[in-house]
Each structure stands twice: as structure tokens, then as C-alpha cells.
């Protein structure tokens, strides 16, 4: 399992692990709880070029479908075949075995636009305060 403190986050709850240009993408633990039982993943095609913020993967639960956005621009290099086969992995280990896809970042600097783990935690708190009624 990855240390969430070392990851970057999007407001749409994707996480990014970046080493050089090698990027791995998944959804946060908070997101897997919100999405609930993941039953289907439609991964991007390997070789597809995506732009930062582009919807490129679909994660579905019993009740709804969720678009997953690319945290940085680049070319898809791998998809998590284990998670496609057993989508419950996303719920079981969102920051590890439940990763969704890898990409080769074209412009790694784009990651600076993303939130750090502590910023993401703050963002979740603010969202919870606004979201509840």
C-alpha cells in the first residue's frame, strides 16, 4: 500500500503517485467509501494519450457511474487487470492494490497544480461542511 501522505490529489478524488515521469492513478479512500461497492471498471486503452483533467476511465458501483480524470497529461502505459477482474479491490485497498491505471507523464510539472495530502484533507472537511444538510 502507498503512503497517502506522499500522493497528490484532485478535487474529483483521484490520487497520483509520481516518480519522474512514471505516474500511477487511483481513487482516494474517501472516494471509494462514497462510491461504495465498485462492481465494474472500464479502464482506458493502453497507448491512449490523455490531457490533464480528461475523463479517461469509468468506475461503477451498484448505484452510479463515476468518471475518473487524468491527474496529469500523458500516455496510458498500463491498466490494473486485477482490479478490472475484481473491482472490489478498489474498496479493499484504494491506495494500493486498487490502483486504476499508469501513465507516462508528458509534463510532470502539472502535478504542482494538484493538492497535497494535507490540502486534500482540508478540502474534504470543507466539502463535508458544505455538503451536509
Amino acid at each position: 500500500m502507498l503512503d497517502p501522505k506522499k500522493l497528490k490529489f484532485m478535487k474529483s478524488h483521484e490520487w497520483l503517485s509520481l516518480e519522474g515521469t512514471a505516474a500511477t492513478v487511483g481513487i482516494s479512500d474517501h472516494a471509494q467509501k462514497e462510491i461504495t461497492d465498485v462492481v465494474f471498471i472500464e479502464p482506458p486503452k493502453v497507448g491512449r494519450k490523455v490531457k490533464q483533467g480528461e475523463a479517461c476511465c469509468v468506475v461503477e458501483s451498484v448505484k452510479a457511474a463515476f468518471d475518473i480524470y487524468a491527474p496529469v497529461s500523458g500516455e496510458i502505459t498500463a491498466v490494473n487487470a486485477d482490479a478490472v477482474k475484481d473491482p472490489a479491490l478498489v474498496n479493499a485497498e484504494a491506495f494500493g492494490k486498487g490502483w486504476l491505471f499508469k501513465l507516462k507523464a508528458a509534463t510532470p510539472d502539472e502535478a504542482t497544480k494538484l493538492m497535497s495530502h494535507s490540502e486534500y484533507e482540508e478540502f474534504l472537511k470543507a466539502e463535508a461542511a458544505h455538503g451536509s444538510h
Partner: protein
């Protein structure tokens, strides 16, 4: 679909919050869609026992010497088939053969009946009853605000329910029981909406929390879990039950819903009989048809169904079936003649996913003996 702004809460709202229920607005009611997981709650109900707060459902009491003739007039099913202590599933047809609501009618005594109606339609149903009660010696009471309702469902349901209501053990399927519970008048029917054995407690709101807590406490050791609306929907769709408002409405007939067995044309006069007779004789032009995806994917209500390159209908109910581990749905198809096994496509995210027509229901519980 409620237009009211203030969401209503059942007496169990605080219990749901305490149990970690994720609250959503359901036809104007604040109810839990799930506690921990739809999948786990679904599985618990299929294998052990699920407890559901269905207090949003309505209760209408019909009493007086003309109770039976009145109920015969407003129901498609033959209410004379049930005597005291029995319940029956029925549709309330309108003059055009459409369905005002689907209900469960319980005969409490010869001249006293309880009609359990859907939440979103309870006011409409009561007004409908009042309109058609003219000339009948009956008293109609809408007690929906007074009663709460808990469904106990699954192979362990009878055992768990009997712990707080021992009379329940002897209740046959579709039996109806009037009893005293914690000093209050209450009702239990051996009915449900999951395709499993089980029963429904109809109890005054002032004791519903106690009934819920006691069922949970007693049931825990047998694996009972509280279940939300999410599991309720996957369970009922697998079992082939209709959801009023999604699968059924004022413009859809019982025959089109593939529930023709509910209509008893030979029972004497009732509202909508002429229209239904005509539909039955002429044949229907669309039929609610169960469809199963042949590739992985989760169909959604509204998804088009394609046959030979042509759209023949849309899904009205759809989900991922935990029991079948496949996407399932039902839709009104312009081709009522399609046999099980017919291959078609369901459009998801702009892609045509291979699917096939199947025989209803999607799932038959091995725990449930064929009953009434």
C-alpha cells in the same frame, strides 16, 4: 418525485444515523440508501436476514359491512379469495386499465381490511378510495402517519421475528396477524419485497424504535443486519417485483407489466375491467421484459435496448445483480413476443453491450418454498 421541500423522517431516523446509515431523499423521505455496503446487505438478506425500515409505506384501513364489495370494486385481484388472517397482492386499476398503485390487502376480520400502499402514492390512493366509496357502507382511514413498518427478510427472518413475536412462527406465507406488541395493537404479515421468506411488522410509531432495536439485538447472533434502500432495490429487481413509479404507473396496464395473473376477469365487476378485458383479448403491444447483460457492465434506467439495429425500448429498472454477478434490468419493449434467449444490445456510455432476454424472475431463492 415529491414536490414538497421538507423531507420527512421516519421514527427510525436517529437509529439509522447511529448505525451509520447514508441518508438520501427517497420520494420526499429521508431514508438510508445503505449502512455499510449494498452488496453486503444484499448478501446478508439472501443468506441470513436483513432488517428494512419501510415506515414510509402507507396503511389504509377499510371497515364496515361493504368492505369486501368495495375492495372488489377497486382491486384487479379477487379479494374474496382471502378470509380473515390472509393477505393478497393486488393492483388498483383505473378505468383505462392503467395502475393507480400496487398494494397488499390483508383481511383482518370479515368486515375489516388493511391495505398497505406505496409511500409516494398513499395520498393519491386514499383520494381514489374515497372517490369510489360512494354508495358503499364503509369507513376509510388513512393511518399512514400513525404506523411505522419494518420488513424482516431472509432465511433466518422467521426465527428472528419469532423472538419478539412468537405467534409469527406459525404464520403461513401471505398470512396476516393482528397482535398486541409492547402493549400496542400491531400487525404482522408474512410478506416482503426481496424474494426471500420473511415478514413485515406494522406497528404504531411510538414502539417502532423498540421493535427495531429488539429485532437487531436478537438478530445479530444469527447474522441479521440493517439494510438500506439500495439492497432493497437490488433484491426486489432480482426477485421480479415491480417498483411503482419506475416500472408501473397510471398509463401502464397490469398485462403490460407481465403481471396478468393479478387480474381476475371472472370475479365480477371492478374499475378498469372493460379496458383490461379488451387488452387481454386484443393482446398487448409492449411488455415489461427482463434483460441480462452478457458482458460486464452496469446498466442504468433509461438505457436504450437495441434489436436488429433498432431501438425497441428503454430500461426502466436496472442494476448490478449481486446474486447473478451480472448487469440486469427490465424495460418495456415494443416486441412483446421476444422469447427468453433472444439476443439484443443495451447502450451504456454510448457503447452497445451484448445482452439477452431472460425468463422472470432473475433469481429464485432456494430458501423459499413455492407459496401463495
Amino acid at each position: 418525485m415529491s414536490t414538497s421541500t421538507a423531507a420527512r423522517r421516519t421514527a427510525l431516523y436517529d437509529s439509522h444515523k447511529r448505525l451509520g446509515g447514508k441518508i438520501v431523499d427517497f420520494h420526499g423521505w429521508e431514508l438510508p440508501v445503505q449502512y455499510e455496503s449494498v452488496m453486503k446487505e444484499h448478501e446478508a438478506t439472501r443468506r441470513r436476514c436483513g432488517l428494512f425500515d419501510v415506515s414510509h409505506m402507507g396503511q389504509v384501513f377499510v371497515t364496515g359491512p361493504d368492505s369486501l364489495p368495495f375492495l372488489q370494486k377497486v382491486n384487479a385481484n379477487d379479494i374474496s379469495r382471502i378470509g380473515p388472517g390472509k393477505a393478497i397482492y393486488s393492483h388498483l386499476p383505473n378505468e383505462r386499465g392503467g395502475v393507480v398503485d400496487d398494494v397488499i390487502v390483508s383481511c383482518l376480520e370479515k368486515d375489516r381490511f388493511l391495505v398497505v400502499v406505496n409511500a409516494a402514492t398513499s395520498d393519491k390512493d386514499f383520494a381514489w378510495f374515497q372517490k369510489h366509496a360512494k354508495g358503499f357502507d364503509v369507513k376509510l382511514e388513512n393511518k399512514s402517519d400513525y404506523f411505522g413498518m419494518i420488513a424482516v427478510q431472509g432465511p433466518k427472518a422467521a426465527e428472528i421475528a419469532s423472538m419478539i413475536a412468537p405467534q409469527m412462527a406459525a404464520l403461513p406465507r401471505f398470512g396476516a396477524l393482528e397482535l398486541e406488541l409492547y402493549g400496542q395493537k400491531a400487525f404482522i404479515t408474512r410478506t416482503g419485497y426481496t424474494g426471500e421468506d420473511g415478514c413485515e411488522f406494522i406497528v404504531p410509531n411510538e414502539i417502532v424504535v423498540r421493535v427495531w432495536e429488539d429485532l437487531l439485538a436478537q438478530g445479530r447472533s444469527l447474522g441479521a443486519v440493517p439494510c438500506g434502500l439500495g439492497a432493497r432495490d437490488t433484491l426486489r429487481l432480482e426477485a421480479g417485483y415491480l417498483l411503482y413509479g419506475e416500472d408501473l404507473n397510471d398509463d401502464i396496464s397490469t398485462y403490460e407489466a407481465n403481471y396478468g395473473w393479478v387480474v381476475k376477469l371472472d370475479k365480477g365487476d371492478f374499475i378498469g375491467k372493460d379496458a383490461l378485458k379488451k387488452l387481454n383479448a386484443e393482446g398487448i403491444k409492449r411488455k415489461l421484459t427482463p434483460i441480462k447483460l452478457l458482458e460486464r457492465g452496469v446498466p442504468r434506467a433509461g438505457a436504450p435496448i437495441i434489436l436488429d439495429g433498432k431501438e425497441i425500448g428503454k430500461l426502466c429498472s436496472a442494476t448490478f445483480s449481486p446474486s447473478l454477478q451480472a448487469g440486469i434490468g427490465t424495460g418495456y419493449l415494443d416486441r412483446p413476443d421476444l422469447a427468453p434467449g433472444t439476443k439484443c444490445f443495451v447502450v451504456l456510455h454510448g457503447r452497445e453491450i451484448p445482452a439477452e432476454v431472460v425468463k422472470p424472475p432473475f433469481y429464485t431463492s432456494p430458501n423459499l418454498k413455492k407459496g401463495a
